[in-house]
């Protein structure tokens, strides 16, 4: 939810991901997303970048609602561990509030695969900064339900790498995952910490990965995302990528 202050509040990305999100009691959000063909990676499971983007969407909405009525939020960093592949779906995203401070909101998101006996897929924490949008925070009927499953993009929905060619924001996690996969020759992202530093406004967006070191469980990479047209770094991530070699 990196551009959550915009009118559409991150729903473009949610539409591509095909998500629904519902506010429950006490500021808890439950989201659902399909393991859709256009989001699959080489191994036939959901791409880590797509999964992280979904976590960001659900945790970000949770944080935004917690920030009301004072303001809305932008994601500042996301840390997540992916502990199992998601192949069946639908995936359920349970987000809860960990902390609501004056300046930021922290939410925890747990992801389970309902089609695979509710297996734990991933767990993460999202930190969001509270900002006051120029036109004020969004006004929504509560409890909020968002159904963003109808894609607004080209039909059929393009797979992730092609989709990135027409998107310039909200895609940091996907860029980072693709860069990590590329530099490791097909590795699978398992752990990510992602710091959102600035919005991607002009493009093209470029992700560059550097191997920090190799461990028995994979490669540890530093990935930097730049908005080349704006000549600035927009995100930095540290990624652990499981390799088969």
């Amino acid at each position: 939810m990196s551009d959550a202050h915009a009118t559409d509040a991150g729903r473009d990305v949610s539409r591509y991901m095909g998500m629904t999100m519902q506010e429950l009691d006490e500021l808890r959000i439950v989201g659902h997303g399909a393991v859709a063909p256009h989001l699959l990676g080489r191994g036939g499971s959901l791409r880590a970048g797509a999964l992280l983007t979904m976590i960001d969407s659900v945790g970000g909405l949770n944080a935004g609602l917690a920030a009301l009525p004072d303001g809305w939020v932008v994601s500042t960093n996301l840390a997540a561990q992916i502990v199992a592949p998601s192949r069946a779906g639908p995936l359920r995203f349970d987000s809860g509030l960990l902390r609501r401070g004056r300046n930021n909101v922290v939410t925890a998101v747990e992801v389970r695969d309902e089609g695979a006996a509710d297996t734990l897929v991933a767990s993460g924490v999202l930190t969001s900064a509270i900002l006051v949008p120029q036109n004020g925070p969004p006004q929504w009927d509560r409890p909020l339900t968002l159904d963003t499953r109808a894609p607004t993009g080209p039909s059929p929905v393009p797979p992730v790498p092609e989709w990135l060619g027409v998107r310039m924001s909200d895609a940091d996690a996907i860029e980072i995952d693709l860069a990590a996969e590329h530099v490791t020759g097909g590795g699978v992202t398992t752990d990510v910490v992602l710091h959102y530093l600035a919005p991607n406004r002009i493009g093209p967006i470029r992700a560059v990965a550097r191997t920090v070191g190799m461990r028995r469980d994979g490669a540890v990479l530093r990935v930097e995302v730049c908005d080349v047209g704006a000549a600035r770094t927009t995100a930095v991530a540290v990624v652990t990528c499981a390799t088969t070699g």
Binding site: N77, L98, R99, A108, D191, L197, R215, D217
Partner: protein, 274 residues
């Protein structure tokens, strides 16, 4: 209390850190000699000790970047890729990634004295209005400098100095008192020590779950509140466990403050670092 921080008998002195800060406030370096007292039973510097080095150099640089405001640490992440052995020196190279109105983000590269990567860390901070009790940043950036005094050193293993008590290894239940030796400038348990408690708890639970002598190589620490009273108590949920790797979620509470939640940590433990 800030004028005298840290006191003569304090963790940050006994770890014998030394510092060098650049003139424009965008980068800093720090060095930590690796001694046996900082190591796990596998003979490598504990992730929590490295996190303490990161916390100190990252916090100092962030305070400079946020001036005239002050900072509160929001999170600290650490990925370890190589062993740091006793007798070596770990250098932390910190740089500002972002210094905004509300947040500061710092990246810290850890290298050994052969210029090999030991790990990589990040920290983010919320920017707050300055209080009179906050330390003076200019004084912190005297360079080069050290907090160590002539007598400063760890007399016992770090976990013994901290008073760590493992109450239930399989469930990762660890108790640690909040003592003057390990307080931060706000009077609460120092951030690197908090990471160390999570390190110990995750290691105990993941060793039990995997049956292997794994050590913590990843820490993702989200600070939610201070531990002022103690004991600080941990519990661990195992998220995944295989022979060479385990993942756990650690929660820390201040048991003396009605179990107020302090910190949530994700930890990964692995075997056989280079």
């Amino acid at each position: 209390m800030t004028a005298a921080y840290p006191p003569d008998q304090h963790l940050l002195r006994d770890l014998r850190f030394s510092f060098d800060h650049d003139g424009d406030g965008t980068s800093s370096r720090a060095w930590m000699p690796v001694v046996e007292e900082l190591c796990t039973d596998t003979g490598r510097a504990r992730a929590g000790a490295l996190a303490t080095l990161v916390d100190v150099i990252g916090g100092g640089l962030a305070a400079t970047a946020a001036a005239p405001g002050w900072i509160a640490t929001a999170d600290l992440t650490l990925s370890v890729v190589r062993c740091a052995r006793p007798g070596s020196v770990v250098e932390a190279r910190a740089q500002v990634l972002r210094a905004g109105r509300t947040t500061v983000v710092i990246e810290v590269a850890l290298v050994d004295d052969r210029e090999e990567d030991v790990g990589i860390a990040t920290m983010s901070f919320a920017v707050l209005p300055r209080r009179d009790s906050n330390p003076e940043v200019d004084r912190m950036r005297d360079s080069p400098s050290t907090m160590a005094m002539p007598h400063s050193r760890l007399a016992r293993p770090l976990l013994d100095e901290l008073g760590v008590e493992v109450r239930d290894a399989a469930r990762g239940v660890v108790d640690v008192p909040v003592i003057d030796w390990s307080r931060n400038s706000m009077g609460a348990m120092q951030g690197g020590v908090v990471a160390t408690v999570a390190d110990v708890a995750a290691e105990a639970a993941l060793r039990s779950a995997t049956g292997e002598p794994v050590v913590v190589t990843e820490l993702y620490v989200t600070y939610l509140g201070f531990g002022r009273i103690g004991p600080v108590r941990s519990t661990v949920d195992i998220l995944a466990a295989a022979a060479a790797r385990g993942t756990a979620r650690v929660e820390l509470v201040d048991a003396g403050a009605e179990n107020r939640r302090m910190t949530v940590v994700y930890a990964v433990a692995t075997r056989d670092l280079p």
